[in-house]
Symmetry: C2
Subunit: 344 residues, 2 copies
DNA sequence: GTGAAAGCGCTAACAC
DNA sequence: GTGTTAGCGCTTTCAC
């Protein structure tokens, strides 16, 4: 009963288990995967041998034989910020529920992003691609090899499923609210050309101002992080507009930091709004927009699962789906004074 | 030159590329992997064929042949909250730099966590395990099969690398600071038995109070999220102690929410502190502790890389490493009034 | 320089 | 019920 001498050794294979249990590898496979083609007695013996040898099936062997990876991937521009964490959470939770592992890839705006994504495509059964990580050509190339794909917070590509959150219309609602405060001059802080979401938010703001007969918002391009927002705001606050509409919460919070430092009062001297409803926004009193980020990730995982099943069963693929998830304005004190019954 | 008819088809294999290029699969492999055993002319022809067929090597085949996955895993209790996002970021970035993909697994406190983790172990070359996700038995089992492993923010296990952040000593410093404010009665909001980090923070606080000749802090067990903190605080604030030391920022922020709702002034009526320095803490004026979370993840990835290399080269393994990363107290207004030159 | 062929660990026909 | 065996797609000797 030489039951030790295992530590440090390489992982056991199915052959070793078979030998130890005195059966064939086929029987081991069957016994361990719950096939009803084995006696309970055999199964017990196999399980015991597997346990003794600390056997875990090598996933590569399995994947190769099964023709699937049992893994999904998700690609981000980067992982900084709480926004993506929520999306990942929803994605992972749902994918795990379907028995799929999750591979993450942050492109960090790197030049080799396309190569990384295509490599990732070779190790998953389905892929979620967020925002501006890779261009349409890459998406099309991956779609062309038949890998199930879903785009998140990104402009649609023909024949590929897309899930977005509502930007334009909620931005209009946000603008409408700012107008009721009497704000008339607007700066949009963010780069509409940099991300589809940002473009939508800017478009909604511009549309609402136009409808109100006002000048178009001044666009000040800006990165999507706190520090970029703060830097951009430093100049801006020397001659502040009535309202600064940040492309996301981090940018808006950056503005708040700059304002505090410069002694500019919010909302007295300038109104500020964001987008995302990060936890920090709540504590900063920032008027912003909530998005169902978790649901975004979860829906992506579910759609991928369906596409993968569809493929495996050689079903006729359903047409590319589009979904726009609802968003909701959250009014706090950064956009202007509210009467008591109005606030919260 | 039938160059299309590819869309929708399954991914191309090395055999198809070989056929198209009129060479053997061995040559394709060599050409594509940059071996210098092929003519430039052959290489060009192969590359062309590969491009036309949109060939990406199947990762399972490759992994099986190479005996490695080119992937690392990371296991979390869950993904809620910005804390983990930062650790993942550091981990992913570093692992990607070493050419490894990253698989994430959130255990969500599920009962089948152990099984999930062991399954994950079968598809990676190395694994980072955070906090209280699985118990020592599982860790030991995985370590026993020789899979490189590193524990993060978790009590050490014999023979396994561990990286933690400093808890005790910084907690003492925090307590010391609270004492200078004149606070004398303390509640620790969190469950020391629930997570190693929490235990350390509690221990540091208790030690400092004991050294100051004060009563031990009252421990009120509490989940680590905002809502748990808020709920626990609702009762607590009816008869507030001088100071509430939250096990992490989310808990402390929950206390702030409850205080605001109950009309309790912070820091006037009660001081509150957290741990982690989330973005929200900054805007909430919460006194807390910064930890190098990104570095935690990055170090884990680097150590794993080293262990994997060590294994591949059959080097003698170096002894299990322990590292404690520094943390730093960040004093804001929630812990008590400060003189101007003292604050910020 | 290139090809043939032997695996890598596993699953799933197919025999018995 | 169980064993035998043929792949899954790739890398890597070993011949030539």
């Amino acid at each position: 009963m030489a039951m030790k001498a295992l530590s440090g050794s390489k992982a056991a294979t199915i052959y070793q288990v078979a030998q130890r249990a005195g059966v064939s590898i086929a029987t081991v496979s069957r016994a361990l995967r719950g096939s009803d083609l084995v006696t309970e007695q055999t199964r017990t013996r196999v399980q015991e041998a597997a346990r003794e040898l600390r056997f875990t099936p090598n996933r590569s062997g399995r994947s190769l034989a099964e023709g699937r990876h049992a893994a999904n991937g998700i690609v981000f521009p980067d992982l900084v910020g709480p926004y993506y964490a929520e999306v990942i959470l929803g994605y992972e939770e749902t994918a795990a529920g379907y028995g799929s592992s999750v591979l993450i890839l942050a492109t960090h705006g790197r030049a080799d992003a396309a190569a990384k994504v295509e490599e990732l495509a070779g190790r998953v059964d389905g892929l979620a691609v967020m925002g501006r990580t890779v261009d349409d050509a890459v998406v099309e190339r991956i779609a062309a090899i038949g890998l199930p794909l879903v785009l998140l917070a990104r402009d649609p590509v023909d024949g590929v499923d897309t899930i977005r959150t509502r930007n334009e219309r909620t931005a209009e609602a946000l603008a409408g609210h700012l107008l009721t405060h009497g704000h008339r001059s607007f700066v949009f802080l963010g780069d509409p050309a940099g991300a589809p979401d940002v473009a939508g938010r800017h478009a909604g703001l511009a549309a609402a101002l136009a409808a109100g007969g006002l000048d178009a918002p001044v666009v000040v391009p800006c990165g999507l992080d706190l520090e970029s927002g703060r830097k951009a705001a430093r100049k801006l606050l020397k001659q502040p507009p009535d309202a600064i509409v940040g492309a996301n919460d981090e940018v808006a919070l950056g503005v708040q930091l700059a304002a505090e430092q410069a002694g500019v009062d919010i909302p007295g001297d300038v109104a500020v709004t964001g987008w995302d409803d990060l936890m920090a926004a709540r504590f900063a009193g920032l008027t912003t927009v909530v998005q169902p980020m978790r649901q975004l990730g979860a829906t992506a995982a579910r759609w991928l699962h369906e596409r993968i099943a569809e493929r495996e069963q050689d079903n006729q693929p359903v047409a590319a789906r589009r979904r726009i998830l609802p968003t909701r304005l959250v009014v706090r004190r950064s956009c202007g004074e509210h009467t008591p019954e109005e606030s919260r």
